[in-house]
Symmetry: C2
Subunit: 432 residues, 2 copies
Amino acid sequence: MPMLCLDSRDPGFDSRLAALLAFETAQDPAVDQAVADICRDVAERGDAALVDYTNRFDRMNAASVDELFLDRGDLAAALDRLDPAVRGALETAAARVRRYHERQVQTSWHYEEEDGTLLGQQVTALDRVGIYVPGGKAAYPSSVLMNAIPARVAGVGEIVMVVPTPGGERNDLVLAAACIAGVDRVITAGGAQAVAALAYGTESIAQVDKITGPGNAWVAAAKRRVFGVVGIDMVAGPSEILVICDGDTDPDWIAMDLFSQAEHDEIAQAILLCPSAEFIGEVEKSIARLLPGMPRKAIIGASLANRGALIKVADLDEACRIANRVAPEHLELSVADPEAWLPKLRHAGAIFMGRFSSESLGDYCAGPNHVLPTSRTARFASPLGVYDFQKRSSLIRVSRDGARALGRVASLLAHGEGLTAHARSAELRLEE
Amino acid sequence: MPMLCLDSRDPGFDSRLAALLAFETAQDPAVDQAVADICRDVAERGDAALVDYTNRFDRMNAASVDELFLDRGDLAAALDRLDPAVRGALETAAARVRRYHERQVQTSWHYEEEDGTLLGQQVTALDRVGIYVPGGKAAYPSSVLMNAIPARVAGVGEIVMVVPTPGGERNDLVLAAACIAGVDRVITAGGAQAVAALAYGTESIAQVDKITGPGNAWVAAAKRRVFGVVGIDMVAGPSEILVICDGDTDPDWIAMDLFSQAEHDEIAQAILLCPSAEFIGEVEKSIARLLPGMPRKAIIGASLANRGALIKVADLDEACRIANRVAPEHLELSVADPEAWLPKLRHAGAIFMGRFSSESLGDYCAGPNHVLPTSRTARFASPLGVYDFQKRSSLIRVSRDGARALGRVASLLAHGEGLTAHARSAELRLEE
C-alpha cells in the first residue's frame, strides 16, 4: 500500500498539504430536493407520512405510528438480554462519560451594581431533545452514550431517540445503551422522515428543540433543512487523526492508531508528523506487516492511500504549527513530555497526550465526548457537550437610578441611529 | 390603528397564537443562486473579484483592493471627529458591555484520576474573526460594539470588520465604534462578496474562522453557504418583544416599549400579556395617542397591525406559560416583584426585570449583548457572547495503569461495533 510521504522542507510542501486537507462537502441537489419533499410531507401529514416513508424505506409493515414506539420497558428488556461482560463495559463507559460531563455544567450568575441595577445570565436546559442513531450495520452504541448522556446531565426534560430498524431488525446493543444513558422514548424510524417528525412534531410526537447525532447524506440534508426550526449539532465530515510522534513510541502502536481512524471510512484521514525519517520508515514497515491481518484492510488501505500521509518535520515545534493548520478532529501527542507541547496546540477536537493515550480509548470510555469537530472546524467549534443542551437568557433589572444614568446614554445613541421610539422609551424612565 | 386583541379564554386561542407566531423564513432561490455564483467567483479570483463586485454593487471606483482597507489610524480619526457627547455615550456603553462580557470568559480545567489519568478541557480563543456591519441607512454603531467586544474579551487574535460604503460614503459613528471596540482592520466592502472574501481568504485578506453580524438577504444567504468553512452566528429573523405586565406600569411606558420593537421593521413583533382588561384598554389609548408623534409611525403602525397583539391572560402564571411558548427575543417582566416570576421563565433571549428596565436600555448600554435569538430559537440558542469566540479541545492523558483498565472496556465495545483496529489499538497498550 503506497502511502504519501512528505517532507516539510520540500518545495511546494504548503500546497501539497493544502491539497491533502481539501475536502469538498458538496451537497447533492437531488438528495436535497427529495429531502425537502419528505420534510414538507411530514410537516403536513404528520404521523401518516412518517409511517408511509418508514414502511417504504425500511421495509416495515407498521399499521400505525404506535407500532414504531418503544418505551423504557422495551429498552430495559434489551439491556437484560446483553452478555454480562458487554453490559459491564457499557455501564463502565457510561459512568465515566457521565462523570466527565458533569464538569461541563454551566450555572446561572448575576451581579449587582452600586445603584441596585442587576445584570446576569440565567442558564436553563433545553426542554426536549431528539437523538438520531443510524441503524443497520453501522450501529454504534457508543454514539448513543455520547449524545444522550450530556443531554441528561444538562437536565433536558425529555430525550427522544430515533433509530431505523430496516426490515424490523432491532439492535439490542443500541437499545441497551439507550436504557443506560436515560433515553425516555425510542421511535424506530430513520432518514429525513424521522428528522422532520422531530423538528415539526406530529399528532403523537412532540416537537423537539434540538436534534443531534450522526447520519447519512439524507439525514445530514434534513438536519440542514430544519436548522432554525430546531437546533442541530454539527454536520460531521469524515473522521480524522493526526499523530505527532517524537520517534520513541512503538511503531506498531502508531500504525494501529492510524488504522483505527482509517477503518471508519475510505475518505477518513490519518496523518503522522515526525522529525525522524528513520522512525517514519519503521511505521511504514509496521503498516505493511499489520495491514493484511485487519478485517477491514480494504477500507484501511484505501483511506491511507487516498487521504493519508507520513510527514517528516524539522522538529516538534514545526509539528505543532502544522497541526494547528490541520486543526484535526483527533490529535495524538505521542511524545515524552506532552504537557510541554500542549500550550502550542490551538486547534483540535481532542488532544490525546502521551504514548498510552490511544484515540480508541477516547472513542469509548475515557470520559470526554467522541462527537468532535471535523474538516478543520476545530478552528471554531468544540466537542459535543453539556453546553450544547443548555442555553442562556440575559438578565437585566435596571433600578430607578440606573434608568436615569443609562437612559441618557441610550437616548443619545438611539437618536444617533434614528430610532426615536428606542430613545423615547429610555427617556420616559428618565423623567420619573 | 386596529391591533389584534385576544383573550386566553377564547375558544381557538391556541391556534390564533400559533398563527401569530408563524413566520416563514423562506429562502429566495434566485438570491441563493446569485450568492453561490459570487462566492465561487471570490473563492477563485480573490481580490480582483471582490473589487469588481464592490465597484458594481456599491458604486465605487476602487482600482485595487488596497483602496478598500482602513487601518486603526483611519478609525481613530473618525473617533476624533465625533461630537464629544456622542463619543462619551459610545465609550460608556462600550465599557459597560466589556465589563458584563468579562464574566462570560470560560477557562480551561482538568482533573486527575487515582491511576494518574488526566482528563480536561482546554479553552482557546479563535484566531481571527470577521464582523459584518451593514452600511447605508441602517448603520448601527451599537452592533459594532456588541459583536466586536465579546470577540476582543475572548482573546481573539485579529478582528476584521467589513462594512459597505455605497458611493464611498463612510459612517463616522460606525468607524468610531470600531475604534473603541478594538477592531484591527476594516474592509469597506459588503454583501455576499465580503462574506466570501472573509470565509475563503484572498491574496490580501486572511481567511477568518468565524463571521458574525447582521445583514440583508444576500448576506444571510452567503453566511448559510459558507457555514462549515467558517463558523457563523445565527441567521436572525425579525425582532420581537413580549411584555408581561401586571397592570401597574404607566401605560405610556408599555406603549413606547412596544413601539421600540415595532419601529425596527414592518414584520417585527410586539406582544403584551396582561391579566387586566382595563389596563389593556389604557395601553390601547396610549398607542393611539403616541403613535402620530413617532417619526417612524408608518413602520410602527404596520408592524403592530401585522404581527402585534394585546392578550388578556387569566393571571401572571399563565402569562409565563405563554411566554415560554413564544420564547421571545426580548421579554419585559413589567411587574411588582419580577424575581418571583423569573424561575417560571424558561425561554427568552433577554429578560428585562421590573418597570424601569426598558428593552432599549439593553439594546445600547446595560451591558448584556443585544444580538439575541429570534423566532422561537431561544428554546435552544443563547445571546451572542464571549463563548461564541472561544472553543474547547478535550484533553486525555491516559496513564499506563489507566490504559490497562480502559483498554479492556474499549476493546469489548470496539469488537461489539466491528471496529477491530480500534480494539487492537487499545489492546496493544494492555500488553505493555
